[in-house]
């Protein structure tokens, strides 16, 4: 129960931050990027109305996510032996009170945004909305990890709020920019409405300021929570910080490309209209992934606190050292005889369990690596038959279905329906269904059976969510070091999954000539994921 509650906690905190980005980031976007003058009409008035709606929606999302945490997830996870939920006592804690504060401020901001939308030229409405946005950010200090620290609590709380403010301004601004670009295109794009180019240029300046605000306090927080190189490489927290840096790097490359396109003297209206929206969409995707990764980071123990359970660089490197994949697996009977009961959290895993799991990863790696190679061949245009590579997912799904749960049908003693009530088995079967869905959708796209434009976006959206989940997914509960070393390859695979997803997105959304490079990048990422799986080891 605690584990499920922990996962929901990460997700809801992530959604809450996304809501905060749309709300508070939207206010900054409205005042510094869109800058609607009094009595504005046309595109500016439409963009202002849309942005205020998004501000209100973001505030409601932040309030809703917090309410679910306060009224449902935490009281449920803290239920007493009698089954009673200690709701009143929980709401009286420091966290409960701060959470109620966020709910009240968010609801007030949603109402203020509605008020400003009705009377956009009244300064009082804007002042109230901005004041509420400021209070919401200040309130975030009492909901962050820093509040529970024993030392340097105050500076860490301030650093966290500034770091979050930078992220909220940047990602929230991007979200609003997507909405603006859609309106701008409808109004005729850069050729008919030059205001859009000015808005994009202003956003570049605000985004740079936001990123400075992300990086400077982020550096202070990293030094305080990670402590040194050993903590960066040898703990889950450190690896997640590295992942965030890598994601930020990818987003900066795209932001830089946008910056150059907008400022190049020879960039015509066509170049801007064709490329900039796709880059912004991908920046939004990367930004949202970053916010989810940040929420996941708060659930991990800071590296400075993980001393005895810290892995050495040599131990981490050993997990990535190439070795021959396992070509055989222990028989299922031998595995079941050796394995400890599922609920024995203190039991040591047996060699048969490691061997079973490594074989599963290696075989899955074979499927993914083969599909990656075929996708690369397909990109080359030299083998038309290679476009059927998504069918490899069907083989992967069949393998996972048989091997994922050795205690259940068809290998184990538990029957198919009987085992469906086990949470692990149910989860694994849902994953199998999703892999089948990936195969069907992408194969139909590749073989021209699915020609709707939206159909081409299913694959990247699924890969992006899968990659993000891999980044936010950790099994470590009792054996920090062992589990960290088992899952250390999840971070690069999750990162590659995210790059793969958004590479494919760019390939679909950019003009054909511009989409070639992202096309090669995503296929290479899939091949690399296959390679990591092929060398995966748990011992």
């Amino acid at each position: 129960m605690t584990q499920l509650a922990g996962f929901l906690d990460v997700l809801l905190r992530g959604f809450g931050t996304v809501g905060l980005a749309a709300a508070v980031g939207g206010l900054v976007y409205l005042r510094l990027v869109l800058r609607p003058p009094a009595g504005a009409g046309g595109l500016v008035a439409a963009a202002r109305g849309r942005a205020l709606t998004l501000v209100a929606a973001g505030a409601l999302l932040a309030a809703g996510a917090e309410l679910l945490l306060l009224l449902l997830v935490h009281p449920w996870a803290l239920a007493e032996d009698s089954g009673r939920w200690p709701l009143r006592e929980f709401l009286a804690t420091e966290f409960g009170l701060a959470g109620l504060g966020r709910v009240a401020l968010s609801l007030a901001l949603a109402a203020a945004a509605r008020w400003v939308r009705r009377a956009p030229d009244r300064a009082l409405g804007w002042a109230v909305a901005l004041g509420l946005g400021f209070l919401l950010m200040a309130n975030a200090a009492w909901l962050a990890h820093a509040v529970s620290r024993l030392h340097d609590r105050g500076p860490l709380m301030v650093g966290t709020v500034l770091h979050q403010l930078g992220a909220v301004v940047w990602v929230g601004g991007l979200l609003h920019l997507v909405g603006f670009v859609l309106l701008w295109r409808r109004a005729g794009g850069p050729a008919a409405e030059p205001l859009g180019v000015r808005v994009l240029a202003r956003f570049s300046a605000v985004a740079i300021a936001g990123l400075i605000l992300v990086l400077a306090p982020g550096l202070y927080l990293s030094i305080s929570y990670v402590g040194g190189w050993g903590g960066l490489i040898g703990t889950g927290y450190g690896v997640m910080v590295l992942t965030k840096v890598a994601l930020l790097g990818c987003a900066l490359v795209l932001g830089g490309l946008n910056f150059l396109i907008l400022r190049r003297a020879d960039a015509g209206a066509g170049a801007i209209a064709a490329r900039v929206p796709a880059f912004i969409e991908v920046e939004v995707g990367l930004g949202l992934t970053l916010l989810l990764a940040a929420a996941s980071l708060t659930s991990l123990p800071p590296s400075v606190d993980v001393v005895a359970d810290r892995a050495t660089p040599a131990e981490v490197a050993a997990r990535f050292r190439p070795a021959m994949p396992r070509l055989s697996s222990p028989p299922v009977g031998q595995l079941l005889a050796a394995a400890a009961p599922i609920d024995d959290t203190l039991a040591k895993r047996q060699p048969e369990e490691y061997a079973w799991s490594e074989y599963n990863h290696h075989a899955a790696g074979f499927f993914v690596f083969a599909m990656g190679l075929l996708a690369l061949l397909d990109q080359s245009g030299r083998a038309r038959w290679a476009r059927h590579w998504p069918l490899g997912f069907l083989g992967l799904a069949a393998f996972l279905f048989v091997r994922n749960d050795p205690r259940a049908w068809p290998l184990g003693p538990a029957g198919f329906w009987e085992s469906m009530v086990l949470p692990d088995v149910l989860q694994h079967r849902l994953v199998v269904l999703l892999v089948v869905a990936l195969a069907v959708f992408e194969w139909m796209v590749r073989s021209a059976r699915l020609t709707r434009p939206g159909g081409r976006l299913v694959f990247p959206l699924l890969c992006a969510s899968g990659g993000a989940l891999l980044l936010t997914h950790s099994h470590a509960m009792f054996n920090l070091k062992t589990e960290f070393l088992t899952e250390v390859s999840h971070a690069p695979m999750g990162l590659l999954g995210v790059v793969m997803a958004w590479g494919r997105w760019l390939e679909v959304r950019l003009p054909a000539a511009d989409g070639r490079v992202p096309g090669w990048i995503w296929a290479a990422c899939m091949t690399a994921i296959g390679l990591i799986l092929l060398v995966y080891r748990e011992t």
Partner: protein, 128 residues
């Protein structure tokens, strides 16, 4: 929103929801034990009168739940006094214990709202 987005959104969101359901095991110990007495897997000649846990975070003590189990017997709830002055420490008094392998399981709420479970195993008497 362009048509392409709308058409992709329905199946993709549905599948993303399934993915979300499919990964509910993600949880990590946010508040970890920095120090304990007795230490994990300790073999003690005499039964301890109390267990002390020191965490890396401030703890909301009134939500702490502790159980103690001897070998494979059913766990028994242990009362935890909330009066300990230090915000990061839990002192758990124990009834007199006989020889055997004990597993103490705890669930704590950190001040930042993260819930953590953990376990501490110790042996009273000769190691088995």
């Amino acid at each position: 929103m362009p048509l392409a987005f709308r058409r992709a959104a329905a199946p993709a969101l549905l599948l993303m929801a399934c993915l979300t359901l499919a990964a509910p095991r993600a949880a990590s110990p946010h508040a970890i034990v920095l120090e304990s007495s007795p230490i994990h897997d300790a073999v003690l000649p005499r039964a301890p009168q109390q267990v002390t846990l020191r965490f890396n975070s401030r703890i909301e003590k009134r939500f702490t739940r502790v159980t103690l189990a001897l070998a494979d017997r059913a766990p028994v709830a242990v009362a935890v006094p909330a009066g300990d002055a230090e915000a990061d420490r839990l002192t758990i008094p124990l009834q007199p214990l006989g020889p055997g392998v004990y597993v103490l399981r705890y669930r704590v709420l950190a001040v930042d709202g993260h819930i953590t479970e953990g376990a501490l195993r110790f042996t009273v008497g000769a190691a088995r």
